[in-house]
């Protein structure tokens, strides 16, 4: 069992002052093995904070990120799964699943984690799974109205990944989960 935290689009301090308190108290150092961040933190303090939760931090560049050195895309392997990360402002039309599927084929990954729209989605298609963890702070988005703060926790176990999505709705944390199974092992 490998726990992977996926989050992004915090937009601190441009659009939000901090993570919601209920999220902050749930995210405890030492429990998570990897962090995948789609970008738009935006400042170093948030980077450092994420590092305290887990030193294995993978991050891609969002268009408001202060640090210019984050890559546009990143791929990594966790257990039997190949994961790809991309903020998503580069994929036009924004939020279009077919366009994202193309990126997934290009990166050749089982799970593509992407952001930009601030809306949680978890979608299975021919090439694999696309997950958008939404905005961890519920930041304002020009594309999505009424954004609830959300993040995703993936439990990777063999050929199976359970995707837990945590959403803060009206002050309460609601959890949902989706199961995905891989049919073939990674070469």
């Amino acid at each position: 069992m490998v726990l992977v935290l996926a989050l992004g689009d915090l937009h601190i301090p441009h659009r939000a002052p901090h993570l919601p308190a209920k999220f902050k108290s749930m995210l405890v150092p030492g429990k998570i093995q990897h962090i995948i961040c789609t970008g738009n933190l935006c400042i170093k303090e948030i980077h450092d904070y994420l590092k305290t939760l887990c030193p294995d931090l993978h991050i891609t560049r969002g268009e408001y990120d202060e640090d210019p050195r984050y890559p546009e895309t990143k791929t990594l392997t966790i257990g039997q799964f190949k994961l790809g990360i991309c903020h998503g402002h580069q994929v036009i039309p924004w939020g279009d699943l077919d366009a994202l599927a193309m990126l997934q084929r290009q990166l050749d990954v089982d799970i593509l984690v992407t952001g930009h729209t601030h809306q949680f989605t978890a979608y299975k298609h021919e090439a694999g799974v696309v997950i958008n963890p939404g905005s961890a702070t519920g930041a304002f988005s020009s594309t999505t109205y009424d954004v609830n703060p959300s993040f995703v926790l993936m439990d990777i176990d063999g050929l199976r990944v359970v995707v837990y999505v945590y959403e803060l709705i009206d002050g309460e944390v609601k959890v949902d989960k989706i199961d995905f199974k891989k049919t073939t092992t990674t070469n």
Partner: protein, 814 residues
């Protein structure tokens, strides 16, 4: 048990030898103190031995003789208080045995009255008085005379010993033996003539005499020994203080008696003795020992004594102690709060402190401020609802600070920060504290650096409390207070600052902006305007931090108002999207001077989208124009251009407000710039991204299949050119990735039903790619191969889907 006579004699002899030896060493100074103590103890033990023998044989005469001799050891002048105490304790133990003997008339056959007379025949006054006190204890217990008479006699007789150390211990002995024999209410010694007032009188007398002796010690030695004397006096202070403790324990001393008799008499002594050490110790004792309820009711009297005390003493601690006790009292018993108001505790304390600060002109500023901090703490705990009191304290502080240059003393500065932080910790709605009229005035007296520290404290408090600042005048006050962070004040230029600190400050200000909110749009707009007024002068270093949060605040407001159209009658500058966009334009424009073209471009695009959602075509068009101007003129870095053009394309793709003409102009510009990017692969990608500008999946969206195809063909040409360039420069073709990407785009529009994209077109492209990959010139690339493979796999998958999609894909052969 009993030594033989010869053994006794040898002890005696030995002792006499030792004594003469000791006498010779007297001249050798203070180290001999140990020896003198040992000598004294030996003397006591020697006489005790005989005393015990006399007691065992009920020999009163002998007992008196040896006890007097024993007590003579206490006549020494050679010991410091610490050592004298050891000697005293030994004597004390022996006197206990003696008292038991005295008590039992059957053993010695002497009546207590006669005994009282008999002991007065002892040769020296000190032993005589110790014996007298001992008998006196028995006398009172026997009840053959009223307690008050015996006590009175004893307390006055003790005047015979005027030496400070000896006198203090003697009177301490008197206090100890009389303790349980005072004619208190409900005691067995209370009677016809014996009342609690007599008990009080006795203890007061003893206290006063003891204090006099104690003070006299200070003048006993030469001036150069002042420190040593003070230390020795310190060792004895509890003997004096004990009397106050006894007074507090007397049951019959109620508030009335305390107020009318005890406190005035004690304070009289405290003031009149004019001794700093005594005064401050005793004031502290009074405060600690008597109940808080009494202090509250005698506040005026207690405080009136303060200015009369020696000015060199630590009055602040005394007052702080008092205020702290009263604060705790109020906190633990909320029902007494009305009493606090009734006795006007705050006014009295405030006046007293004012008088002290005025009178002690030499008091360093840190002293005065810490007094105010104590008073403020008191006020916040006891009268938190009385903001006028809180403001008064701040006002008194301002008065003290005015006329002086800005504080430089770091201790004083710390105290001022403590003063200003106290209300922030106390009140949930921090802005309550901030709107106190004297609050900014106190802040003005801080130097620029500390001012900023305080501003950060304020921001942190607001963030921690999670309360929103909800009116524009409160925002005005707040931003005035934190002006040190918002702009360059005289004296400190940004260059001197550590970059990390500066960033932290500015990010704090940015976070703060999210705490400014009002549901009413008019008020919210006012708030935004107020903030802008303050941050606009921040200069190029601050604007990149402060502009974005303000812009997003405004965009959130626009979204709230989206349903509204036109102007609201009767308002000066009504909150309408149009007006807000005007303001947004102004705000973002300020970034040009930084310069922050990339940030400004992004914000313009955000505004364009918002204007689109409000159906304001010209406004949206204007924002795009601004974005393009920045792109053309300011965004120079090629990587930045790539990101920027994609943002423009992505935003434009979502626009549905534009009429044909405007849309065409903008798409033409976008595709034009896409084709002009520095690197060919970037050009290729941007151009095929533009294809989406001509196809929007919405119901009413544009679906211009021809122009989509044109774009894709154009990107194909660019990809070809890129291949050829790679041939020329490197001698072999670059990866076929671009072609695969374009193929995927073809598939996208193929699936969407673009009639211009047929299965044969796709087939052609697939063949082209295969050819390219197999060509000798091409460098094999794992990534492109995998991409092509997965694309083909996708096509296969679609073919196998069946239904309409399967049919569509059927002609394509892999």
């Amino acid at each position: 048990m009993y030594a033989s006579l010869s053994q006794l004699k040898s002890v005696e002899l030995r002792f006499d030898r030792e004594t003469s030896k000791m006498k010779m060493m007297i001249a050798n100074g203070i180290e001999d103190e140990e020896k003198w103590l040992a000598e004294g103890i030996a003397g006591i033990q020697h006489n005790a031995f005989y005393l015990h023998r006399a007691l065992d044989s009920n020999n009163l005469r002998e007992a008196l003789k040896y006890s007097a001799q024993l007590l003579s050891e206490l006549r020494t002048s050679r010991l410091s208080p610490h050592k004298y105490y050891e000697l005293y304790m030994r004597a004390f133990d022996e006197l206990r045995r003696l008292e038991m003997f005295f008590k039992d008339e059957d053993r010695h056959g002497c009546s207590v009255v006669d005994l009282y007379e008999l002991v007065q025949h002892a040769g020296n006054i000190l032993p005589r008085l110790y014996l007298l006190c001992t008998v006196g204890s028995v006398y009172i217990k026997s009840k053959e005379a009223p307690a008050k008479d015996v006590l009175k006699d004893l307390v006055e007789m003790c005047r015979g010993v005027q030496n400070p150390i000896r006198g203090l211990f003697l009177r301490s002995y008197l206090a100890q033996v009389s303790r349980d024999k005072l004619p208190d209410i409900g005691s067995e010694y209370e009677g016809e003539g014996d009342t609690v007032m007599d008990a009080v009188e006795f203890v007061l007398q003893n206290f006063i005499e003891m204090n006099k002796l104690w003070v006299r010690m200070q003048h006993q030695g030469p001036l150069r020994e002042k420190e040593k004397l003070e230390k020795e006096r310190g060792e004895l202070r509890d003997l004096v203080g004990k009397n106050l403790h006894v007074l507090s324990q007397i049951e019959g001393v109620d508030l009335e008696i305390y107020k009318e008799t005890v406190l005035p008499r004690v304070l009289e002594q405290v003031v009149n003795c004019k001794d700093e050490l005594a005064q401050y110790y005793l004031m502290d004792c009074i405060i600690q020992v008597f109940p808080d309820e009494y202090h509250l009711q005698t506040l005026e009297t207690l405080l009136a004594a303060c200015p009369q005390l020696q000015p060199t003493g630590d009055l602040k601690t005394v007052l702080s102690q008092l205020m702290e006790r009263l604060s705790n009292y109020a906190a633990s018993s909320p029902e007494v709060l009305p009493e606090f108001l009734h006795v006007e505790a705050f006014a009295k304390l405030s006046n007293a402190i004012g008088k002290v600060v005025e009178a002690q002109v030499d008091m360093p500023i840190v002293g005065a401020i810490s007094l105010y901090v104590s008073l403020l703490t008191f006020t916040l705990r006891v009268h938190p609802d009385r903001l006028d009191y809180v403001d008064q304290v701040l006002g008194a502080c301002v008065k003290k600070l005015s006329g002086k240059p800005k504080l430089e003393d770091s201790k004083a500065t710390k105290q001022v920060v403590a003063l200003l932080s106290a209300p922030l910790d106390k009140y949930d709605d921090i802005v309550t504290a901030l709107t106190l009229s004297n609050y900014p005035r106190v802040m003005d007296h801080l130097d620029a650096g500390t001012n900023k520290v305080m501003a950060m404290v304020i921001i942190r408090s607001i963030m921690k409390n999670k309360t929103f600042v909800s009116t524009f005048d409160k925002v005005e006050v707040l931003f005035e207070l934190i002006k040190g962070l918002i702009k360059d004040l005289d004296g400190i230029s940004h260059d001197e600052l550590d970059e990390e600190d500066f960033n932290e400050e500015q990010n704090s200000v940015a976070c703060l902006m999210h705490m400014l909110y009002n549901e009413d749009p008019e008020e919210m707009l006012q708030i935004i305007r107020t903030v802008w007024k303050h941050v606009m002068v921040g200069g190029p270093t601050r604007l990149p931090f402060t502009v974005p949060p303000l812009v997003f605040s405004a965009l959130k407001l626009v979204r709230r108002l989206q349903s509204q159209d036109g102007d609201i009658a009767g308002e000066e500058v009504p909150a309408t999207p149009r007006n807000i966009f005007q303001l947004l334009n102004q705000i973002i424009e300020a970034l040009w001077v930084v310069p922050s073209p990339e940030l400004a471009l992004r914000l313009y695009l955000q505004c364009a989208e918002a204007a689109n959602d409000c159906d304001l075509e010209p406004v949206a068009y204007e924002f795009f124009t601004q974005a393009f101007v920045l792109y053309e003129e300011e965004v120079a870095d090629s990587k930045a251009q790539v990101t920027a053009i994609h943002l423009i394309i992505g935003t434009l793709q979502r626009m549905n407000v534009f009429g044909v003409e405007n849309r065409d102009t903008l798409t033409h510009k976008a595709t034009g710039y896409s084709a002009k990017l520095l690197k060919k692969p970037d050009q290729c990608r941007a151009v095929y991204a533009c294809s989406h500008l001509f196809w929007v999946d919405d119901q009413d969206g544009i679906k211009d299949g021809e122009r989509v195809l044109l774009c894709l063909k154009r990107s194909l040409r660019i990809a070809n050119a890129a291949q050829q360039m790679a041939n020329v420069t490197r001698g072999s073709s670059g990866p076929v990735t671009l072609f695969v990407e374009i193929l995927n785009k073809y598939l996208y529009f193929f699936e969407k039903g673009n009639p211009q994209i047929t299965s044969s077109v796709i087939q052609g492209l697939i063949e082209l790619i295969k050819t390219e990959m197999q060509s000798d010139n091409t460098t094999p690339d794992h990534a492109s191969d995998a991409f092509f493979t997965s694309t083909l796999r996708y096509i296969q998958f679609q073919k196998q889907k069946g239904g309409a999609m399967g049919e569509k894909y059927d002609p394509i052969k892999l």
